[in-house]
């Protein structure tokens, strides 16, 4: 079905085993695949499916305790496994390039990026002159739309953001015009709009350079955007190979069907996916948390002046109310100020101006006993379930700790409470006496939840709490949160970059950009009729297999947010806004109401942006 020419890469029955003290375990089990010239083959699989091992095997990078035990990897008919090291070395870089998921550690941190790419170019193409090599690198930097390529040539890796660094790695890979590029999860650590930019870029470059790409990802939505054909990997086996559309419309293997069905949907109401019923709509609900015009500025060193200081405006005049029983999602990309806001809300830091009222009391000024009492009412859960749990205490003791600190309970009462909470969060009671070693990430997060829940909080702040967990575990915990909410009337504040999750569980959504809330609205409004171009841009960039109401061609952003040091007057989004007009440069739009309970900070919020494209409602499952 592809060209009739011989494939450039043929993998035949490749088996990789993990050598352990016990029996060897197969990480890849007789995987075969073909890549033709100019083809983009997607490889999809969950974590642990062997996709990274496979992509590394293709550049002959399999190190102990992993070992290739059988099979062939033929590059234009020549077996990489039998190739002399010298030949492999020259093939790597020149003909087969590899880009990994962590661009920030791929280059020597102490040398300018341009020099390192040149170093590679010259070692792969020994004859090339310095002059020509430099020209070629800068030219390729231009091709990936690196702003000021010639200047950035001399910058060091740490001076680039993750997204820009991934562009640098793409340059490094493509500068030798290889005929095969292995892209191993390259968008994984990036923010959605940046990932979408990289994907679009890769697609364009693929057309220009006519490079075959092996695009490996765990997100079907991502592969969907670029690949011709998709290989589905499960438990080290290739279970299905089909065209992208085929996978979505007629998945053959049971695992693929499961994968397609479980793919989080944002716009199509998945049958059993939606968790949060819209919160009670009565107007007289109690305001549990009120954030009033809160700002936070950090001083950093200014390197252009002697002893100079710069002021990073992390949070700029944020105000919102959270009603009892609400689930508010705070979303935005890295650097938007959501983590700073989380630190303020959890009282790890005090705001420079403004106040944060929890049940009418200012949490910044309370001290001592009163603070301790109030503190019981709101609890923070962080992303990393590993560092926050002491490893030398029994699980029961860890959970009891907050009760002991707050005091006033007898031993028996504490024991009873701990047991109750443990069963509530789904930890079996015989775990109480054991140490936390050996707990899975999900169980650790449950311990954390239990530790917060013993205090019977009214507000839980979840700062990327579920980001480190896989899809299945995430879904289970979301169900748990929902149950806790129904039973105890807890209010949630989800701080997250995951729009899919927010769509599922939050009844209200606040979108942050450059330290401000640019839109604050109900779930439906946010996702179907948002009033701010940035919200639309985010939604246009989410990897999805659905028909979306916001086209990437209209909304997808270029570049990255400006740095929050010298924020120009006017609308802070105007440097990237596709709809910016004169007034945006001078008048800073305030958060204004556009409907009942919906606010947006844009001059066009009342109308003037293209209408959202109605969802066609195709379902694939």
């Amino acid at each position: 079905m592809m060209s009739d020419a011989k494939p450039i890469l043929q993998v035949r029955d490749l088996t990789v085993e993990l050598r352990t003290a016990h029996a060897p375990r197969r990480v890849l089990d007789q995987v075969s695949l073909d890549v033709h010239a100019n083809e983009v083959l997607g490889i999809i699989g969950e974590s642990g499916s062997g996709k990274t091992v496979l992509s590394r095997a293709l550049v002959n990078w399999v190190a102990r305790p992993l070992e290739m035990t059988s099979g062939e990897i033929l590059y234009r008919g020549e077996d990489l496994r039998k190739m002399p090291a010298q030949r492999m070395q020259s093939l790597r870089g020149r003909s087969i390039a590899y880009i990994g998921s962590d661009p920030t550690t791929a280059l020597d941190p102490t040398l300018p990026i341009g020099h390192q790419i040149m170093e590679k170019l010259k070692s792969v193409e020994p004859g090339i002159s310095n002059e020509a090599a430099r020209k070629r690198v800068i030219h390729t930097l231009d091709a990936v739309r690196m702003p000021m390529a010639a200047k950035r040539f001399d910058d060091f890796p740490f001076q680039f953001s993750g997204g820009m660094m991934q562009r640098v790695m793409i340059v490094d890979a493509l500068v030798t015009s290889p005929d095969l590029l292995v892209a191993d999860n390259i968008t994984q650590p990036l923010d959605v709009t940046v990932a979408a930019q990289i994907l679009r870029l890769l697609k364009e470059l693929q057309a220009d350079y006519r490079t075959a790409i092996l695009f490996v990802s765990s997100l079907l939505g991502m592969v969907h955007g670029i690949a011709d054909n998709v290989l589905v990997l499960a438990g080290g086996k290739a279970v299905e190979l089909q065209s992208v559309d085929g996978i979505l419309t007629a998945p053959q293997h049971a695992y693929t069907r499961h994968l397609v069905r479980e793919m989080p949907r944002i716009w199509e109401a998945a049958p059993e996916g939606r968790i949060s019923a819209p919160a009670p709509q009565s107007d007289d609900r109690e305001v549990i948390l009120s954030v009033r015009d809160v700002s936070r500025v950090y001083a950093t060193k200014d390197r252009s002046r002697l002893f100079g200081k710069q002021h990073v405006q992390a949070v700029r005049g944020v105000s919102f109310d959270v009603m009892k029983g609400d689930s508010l999602g705070i979303v935005g990309e890295s650097g938007c100020g959501k983590s700073s806001l989380s630190r303020l809300l959890s009282r790890l830091e005090a705001p420079d101006t403004g106040e944060i009222l929890f049940k009418g009391q200012n949490i910044a000024t309370l001290k001592g006993r009163a603070m301790l009492k109030l503190r019981k009412g709101f609890q923070l859960l962080l992303q990393d379930p590993y560092n926050s749990i002491p490893s030398h205490m029994s699980i029961g003791r860890i959970i009891a700790e907050p009760l002991i600190i707050h005091g006033g309970l007898s031993k028996a009462e504490i024991r009873g409470k701990v047991a109750e909470v443990m069963s509530e969060v789904g930890l079996s009671s015989d775990l109480a006496g054991s140490l936390p070693v050996g707990l899975s990430a999900g169980q650790r997060q449950r311990v954390n939840i239990a530790r917060a829940m013993v205090l019977e909080p009214e507000l839980l702040i979840l700062d990327e709490t579920l980001s480190a967990l896989d899809q299945v575990e995430q879904a289970k915990l979301l169900t748990l949160f929902e149950r806790l909410q129904m039973r105890h009337g807890i209010t949630y504040l989800y701080i997250s970059h995951d729009l899919g999750m927010v769509r599922r569980v939050c009844n209200r959504v606040a979108v942050m950009y450059l330290g401000r809330i640019v839109e604050l609205a109900g779930n439906e409004t946010t996702f179907f009729d948002s009033g701010h171009p940035y919200t639309r841009a985010l939604l246009s960039a989410v990897p999805a297999i659905e028909h979306r109401p916001y086209e990437a061609s209209t909304y997808l952003l270029e570049g990255e947010p400006p740095n929050p040091i010298n924020i120009p007057p006017g609308c802070s989004f105007r440097t990237r806004c596709p709809f910016a007009f004169d007034r945006c440069a001078t008048v800073d739009p305030m958060l204004t109401a556009r409907g009942k309970g919906d606010f947006a900070a844009c001059h066009l919020a009342g109308g003037g942006m293209p209408a959202s494209v109605a969802a066609a409602g195709t379902t694939f499952a």
Partner: protein
């Protein structure tokens, strides 16, 4: 440029504070520990009355802060005072001559004493550093590259042996074997540069374990950095990754060790070793000054040693920020 200026101004200011504190400490300690310098100056024959008179004349009975203020006033003009003990002719004068008065004008200026001794010490220290790097870099780098294999173990055994050799013992054994028995190298005193070889060797053996250890740790930890494996996948050879990238980056921790540990250790051992070899450097001057309660000499050497340490540290850190620009942030 701005960075360099900012860096040096900042670090010099910090350094100055450290030096002043050290000076204060030494100054106070010297005056509170038992032992009256006037006794050593005038000898046991002088009457208590005369001793007291001399002490008062020299300001030794003023309150310590007053003495210190006077001293600082002198030092800023570059004058470290005159030795209590040594005469301008260079000979050390004991108290045995029994003179009734103490004449400050025929005592040697401290600065002059130090300046004559410094070149000898620099030669010795430089030679010691050179020899020790020559021994430890190849061993340390090999150990770092073959972490866990025989070069690593060899490095470990060798450093353990070096560490457990007391320097004074090693000095005596070497003097006996190489100089007295073998007649290969001169050992005591100084006539030409060959007299520095044996003491330098003893110092080098003492310095080497630190260098071997930090070189091997720096290299092996750099080898584990993701960019090394990634570089080979990008098409660069392993040899190139090691030569161009790993060794360069491993320099940073090495430089730090050089700046802090090595110079400190060197300064400490220099005193002992120079004494053992009767080598006419700053160390010998210091040891003798301590025995004789020669306050001005002790103070001056302590302050200058401290200044040297601070300066070396500043330079080393500056070099490190030039290898790894992230350190500038």
């Amino acid at each position: 440029m701005i960075f360099a200026l900012d860096f040096f101004l900042r670090r010099m200011a910090q350094g100055l504070v450290i030096i002043v504190l050290v000076a204060m400490l030494i100054f106070t300690l010297l005056r509170v520990v038992p032992g009256d310098p006037v006794r050593t100056m005038l000898g046991p024959m002088a009457s208590a009355e005369v001793a007291e008179q001399t002490a008062q004349k020299m300001g030794l009975r003023d309150p310590i802060p007053v003495q210190f203020a006077k001293y600082v006033g002198q030092v800023v003009t570059g004058d470290f005072g005159r030795s209590f003990v040594r005469s301008a002719q260079g000979a050390s004068t004991g108290g045995s001559r029994g003179g009734a008065t103490f004449d400050a004008s025929n005592r040697a200026p401290v600065m002059g004493l130090i300046l004559t001794a410094v070149p000898y010490s620099l030669l010795l220290a430089g030679l010691a550093l050179g020899i020790s790097l020559l021994i430890s870099l190849p061993i340390g780098i090999a150990a770092g590259l073959k972490s866990g294999k025989w070069p690593d173990r060899l490095a470990l055994y060798l450093s353990s042996i070096f560490v457990s050799l007391p320097n004074i013992w090693l000095a005596l054994v070497l003097i006996f074997l190489v100089s007295v028995k073998g007649g290969l190298l001169p050992a005591i005193g100084y006539q030409n540069w060959t007299y520095a070889i044996l003491p330098a060797f003893v110092l080098a053996i003492e310095l080497s374990p630190v260098f071997i250890r930090s070189a091997s740790v720096a290299v092996s930890s750099n080898m584990l950095e993701p960019y090394v494996a990634a570089g080979q996948i990008r098409g660069l050879s392993r040899a190139r990754m090691i030569l161009v990238h790993v060794l360069r980056n491993a320099m940073i921790p090495l430089l730090n060790v050089l700046g802090i540990q090595a110079i400190g250790l060197l300064l400490g051992s220099l005193f002992v070793i120079e004494y053992a070899f009767n080598y006419p450097g700053v160390g010998l001057l210091m040891i003798n000054a301590v025995f004789q309660r020669d306050f001005p000499v002790i103070q001056a050497i302590a302050i200058l040693a401290c200044t040297l340490l601070v300066l070396v540290n500043i330079l080393v850190d500056f070099a490190a920020t030039n290898i790894d620009r992230r350190l500038q942030y």
